[in-house]
Amino acid sequence: MSEALSDAPEFPMVRGRRPFDPPPELDRRLHDEPVSRVKIWDGSEPWLLTRYEDVRAMLADARVSADTSKAGYPPQSPGIAARRKRAKAFITMDEPEHGAQRRLLTGDFMVKKMERLRPRIQKIVDDLIDDMLAGPKPADLVQAFALPVPSLVICELLGVPYADRAFFHRVSKVLISKDTPPAESLAALEELLAYLGGLVKQKLTDPADDVLSRLATEQVATGAMTVDDVAAMGQLLLVAGHETTANMIALGTAALLEHPDQLAAVRDGDPALVANAVEELLRYLTIVHTGRRRVALEDMEIGGHEIRKGDGLIAASDIANRDEKAFPDPDKLDVTRKARHHVAFGYGVHQCLGQPLARVELQVVYSTLYRRIPTLKLAAPVEELKFKHDMVVYGLHALPVTW
């Protein structure tokens, strides 16, 4: 052990006064110590990668593993550590298992199919805005709009009854909180798996046109997968499918309201500009803010440092998306910027499966909300907003708005 190890700072780091920017210490590391040790909650000291090129290279490297059960893997939270041996979904598998499972779903999320969903998503968005305008103000944009949009869409796609949303919203929150005690985290997972397992069994005998029905009839009925395997896949899609996009909607809206010139450009822009703005907001906000985690499967070199087999690795995508070598003037929110090469969805074979869906949802939301409510504004000062420092996905617990 070298002396440097004992000086390793705590990770994740604390954000500064600017809630839309990554922690200042991450920015310092990007410039002064781009590859360095940090200390995480369990006392281990994985490597933190901050440069765009290093982050991309590591995440695309077959010599690293995403398997959370492997020795040295740096888990995001005690809850995630407790859950790692239960209900593995493809996000924590390596090749070839990962690819085989992911391919069962890639057709469901392909670009053309998501485009076919656009009119349906537009209807959902318009209806929710109608309800919000008809209701009391100020309103909480998270509850009235940001959470319902992706929840409704992922429920329809998977075949999960939207009426059960209070249940899975509660359980998801427990699962993505950094502070959930291990036993509670495991119990929440079991609850969600039991619920989804029940749905899968129901769909075995009474299938509809949805993803869980297809997995039930094509995979479970043939013996290729168990009910529990499909439930594990379903919980990943359900949690990831609404928590992330919901946060991008609320946080993106807050960021745009703080940048009125950018909001005006989005509101008055054509569809191509809105699509561009979505990429820039994904880059600028990078809501998966506790890093993409891996473990080295063999000795390797990153940025001049010797990484040993079994060393934990954390790719800090939020600060990588602020690397001026990849994005000039990176701290500026500029919706006209070419930002499609951002790593907000990760990189490598694990890059977000649902990104074509997230893009369509965000494009419809951003092109509709500010046009339909041009006087939309914060109903509380930005300093009083409750940001999700306690969650592995960044965002807002509530966003009071009026118009």
């Binding site: 995440l59 695309a60 690819g99 992911r102 391919r103 890639t106 057709g107 469901d108 999320f109 392909m110 670009v111 053309k112 499609r340 090469h341 969805f345 990760g346 990189y347 490598g348 074979v349 890059q351 977000c352 499966l353 990104q355 074509p356 893009r359």
Partner: protein, 64 residues
């Protein structure tokens, strides 16, 4: 420019389709990349280069 794709590596993220829809498509049943033009014209080269650069699975290779 010659475009080479590796369908075995493809993870169906759809980035290439968004960057260069005239050159790349996805197979309907599983979202795996399909090459529409092996030798795209010069006006599409920038888009194709972007597609190759952002492909998360490094499944697109470009040759002269």
């Amino acid at each position: 420019m010659k475009v080479l794709i590796d369908q075995d590596r493809c993870v169906g993220a759809g980035q290439c389709v968004l960057a260069a829809p005239e050159v790349f498509d996805q197979r309907e049943e599983d979202g795996v990349v399909v090459l529409l033009q092996e030798n795209p014209p010069a006006e599409l080269h920038e888009q194709v280069r972007e597609a190759a650069q952002i492909c998360p699975a490094l499944a697109i290779e470009l040759a002269d």
